[in-house]
């Protein structure tokens, strides 16, 4: 998916392949500007006018969404099959309407149910996400941040989607509130088999929730596999760098190592491997030839020319 801008084409999402099964959580980790939120809007075809899906397929229940018309996507896919909890969701509630009415509206707008049925469903949904159903009569400003986020999750569940895309669902929430949201989302997965695509910059959040993890850098996946493999035997220098820069509360005091440099411009990404200008392992080939995305181990893919060397060097850990 590319954006056309006055400065040129921005290759925000570039050649990604992944699948999510029922009841599975896929985590996508990346830093600001790597294209992870663009990926979320692409999957729902909620792109702005300058965003174009150049090629590829998005298959939901055997049907490709890419050639599908807007009206069909709205009627057949959004909310009913794939729902989005957008970034900054808690600020997405309309301040002048009661929270319960906003959820009920989402239901009546997409189905033929009566208003009273929609209201009953709203109460059920609020209860499900751990908000007292009587609070549905309140306005967003009477809700705390965590409750607003729960209400937005309730809304996204209104039509029982099979896939929930959660874009930074806990950003700006305090840590105990965040823990509550993590448990809520995992509970939904366990109880209803909802598949979740979790998009976040937070390695630890993704590790806690995901069965599979993809590490995204400059519009591409650089590493993808089961979370156990990606975290336990990281092979891409970027993944290794991120893990080294992350403060782990369980470990004794340790120096943190920064990944030098900053993410590239997506209008003119660096030639070859996009991470090469920041990579401690980079050699000439990295600056000229893009590394293929290879299966390095079972259910573990990596895009790096030197993954074998890195694996050997990291020895027992890889």
């Amino acid at each position: 998916m590319y954006y056309t801008t006055a400065a040129g084409e921005v290759k925000a999402v570039d050649g990604l392949n992944f699948d999510v099964e029922q009841g599975e959580v896929l985590g996508i980790v990346g830093e600001s500007g790597c294209g992870k939120s663009s990926l979320a809007t692409t999957l729902l075809k909620l792109l702005p006018n300058n965003g174009i899906i150049k090629e590829g397929r998005i298959i939901m229940d055997g049907e490709d969404l890419v050639p599908m018309g807007d009206a069909d996507v709205r009627r057949k896919v959004r909310w009913t099959k794939i729902a989005l909890v957008p970034q900054g969701a808690m600020n997405s509630l309309n301040p002048v309407f009661r929270v319960g009415d906003q959820i009920a509206e989402a239901i009546t707008a997409h189905t033929n149910v009566s208003r009273s049925d929609a209201r009953a469903r709203t109460e059920e949904l609020l209860k499900l996400v751990g908000v007292d159903p009587s609070r549905g009569r309140h306005y967003p400003h009477e809700f705390s941040g965590g409750m607003k986020q729960r209400a937005m999750i309730a809304m996204s569940l209104a039509l029982s989607p099979k896939v929930l895309i959660a874009d930074e669902p806990t950003t700006a929430l305090d840590v105990i509130v965040q823990a509550g949201i993590i448990r809520l989302l995992l509970g939904l997965r366990n109880d209803f088999g909802t598949a979740i695509i979790l998009i976040s910059h937070d390695l630890a959040l993704v590790a806690q929730m995901s069965d599979k993890t993809a590490i995204m850098y400059a519009g591409k996946f650089v590493e993808y596999g089961t979370s156990k493999e990606v975290y336990g035997s990281a092979l891409h220098p970027y993944t290794i760098g991120l893990l080294g820069a992350f403060a782990d509360i369980r470990k004794p005091k340790e120096p943190l190592v920064a990944v030098p440099g900053s993410p590239p411009d997506l209008i003119q990404p660096p030639p070859g491997c996009r991470f090469s200008p920041r990579c401690p392992y980079a050699e000439e080939v990295c600056r000229t030839k893009e590394p293929p995305f290879l299966e390095a181990a079972k259910d573990h893919y990596v895009a790096c020319h030197f993954w074998r060397e890195i694996k050997a060097k990291r020895g027992g850990r890889a």
Binding site: Q208, D248, K253
Partner: protein, 352 residues
């Protein structure tokens, strides 16, 4: 770390209340609207070269402490002693000579540096305003040295650049250089990395650690990130609704807490390991407002250890082990429970 134990900043019984405007209904009923207890009887001191951390959730009063110490918002009561001199109650003019000695680095480098000023103008502004340099050459020299200290190299190349030409990490380092150029003895860092990407957070932390090392500058760091506190802070105080509930060496507080609130915070922090136990919610309900904080121990309505006494009597912050202070009636029970690997008297998640 410096062995010098000179106290740079001493805060005693600091209290900051904000009044709330009475609503129309309250003024008719002749009721008072109450006051926000943003900071309530907080005491601590920061030694030369020490990094002191204040951690807690939103609304715990961390940022208000910084604003109060800088006299941006004078304290309601209590004393603030900077290098032996009482500074609370000083006028703007009298405060001026301390301003350069206490500098602040804000959370968001995209908002805290003026996009229309060059790096040189941003960093040098304080020098000119405070008349600390007599010529432009002298200013260039000091700005260059400060930029070098924050690892913006070669500094000469950056002097005429504008913020939009810098990455987020570089912007934050320029903000640190702006503080550093005035030769401060204490830097307040208000969530200095929370707006930055993980890969560049470490770079900012390492810059702060190196200026402490090189110049012996003390740092008061406000953060909500306990994992980061453990790696960067020497002495850590945990705040809850305007009060310090626990303090001690950062690593000890984080790895072996005494206060049920501290423990609940640590249990909620996710770790970058899919095999690790999942986060747990060990505090009931939500953080109360500080307009009418709960009676007794402010944490008692959420605490799984709470007994009748907790609702009536406020526990004092007392020393329970060398260097460790905690404000909890049941600190011993709590600490023993956690040491046995249990979460509390109620097992598992309290939200279920």
């Amino acid at each position: 770390m410096s062995t010098d134990t000179e106290v740079i900043l001493k805060i005693e019984h600091l209290t900051k209340l904000f009044s709330v405007r009475r609503s129309f209904a309250q003024s008719i009923g002749r009721k008072s609207a109450g006051r926000v207890h943003a900071v309530d009887d907080v005491s601590f001191e920061i030694k030369k070269g020490e990094i002191f951390g204040l951690a807690g959730e939103s609304g715990s009063g961390k940022t208000t402490i910084i604003r109060t110490v800088l006299m941006l918002s004078p304290p309601t009561s209590g004393s603030i002693i900077f290098k032996g001199q009482e500074i609370s109650g000083l006028s703007r003019g009298q405060m001026k000579k301390y301003r350069t000695k206490m500098q602040i680095v804000f959370q968001d480098p995209y908002e805290s540096v003026n996009p229309r000023m060059s790096v040189f103008d941003i960093v040098a502004e304080g020098l000119f305003v405070n008349k600390l340099v007599s010529s432009r050459e002298e200013a260039v020299e000091r700005v260059t040295a400060a930029l070098r200290d924050v690892q913006i190299t070669p500094p000469e190349e950056y002097l005429s650049r504008y913020p939009h030409e810098l990455s987020g990490g570089q912007r934050q380092r320029v903000a640190i250089a702006r503080a550093l150029v005035l030769d401060p003895e204490l830097i307040f860092a208000d969530e200095p990395v929370s707006m930055l990407d993980v890969s560049i957070r470490a770079e900012i932390i390492n810059v702060l650690l190196s200026i402490r090392e090189k110049r012996g500058i003390s740092i008061l760091m406000v953060t909500h990130d306990l994992a980061l506190s453990k790696d960067m802070v020497d002495e850590l105080a945990i705040m809850y609704v305007g009060k310090i509930v626990e303090r001690g060496p950062a690593q000890e507080v984080v790895s072996a807490p005494y206060h049920p609130y501290t423990y609940a915070l640590t249990a909620a922090v996710p770790v970058p390991d899919p095999e690790a136990p999942k986060v747990r919610v060990l505090a009931k309900g939500e953080i109360p407002t500080n307009i009418a904080p709960p009676s007794g121990c402010r944490f008692h309505p959420r605490c799984t250890f709470a007994q009748a006494v907790c609702a009536t009597t406020e526990p004092p912050l007392q020393e329970v082990a060398p260097g460790r202070q905690v404000a909890c009636h049941f600190w011993k029970e709590a600490h023993d429970t956690f040491a046995r690997g249990l979460d509390g008297p109620v097992s598992g998640d309290v939200t279920k």
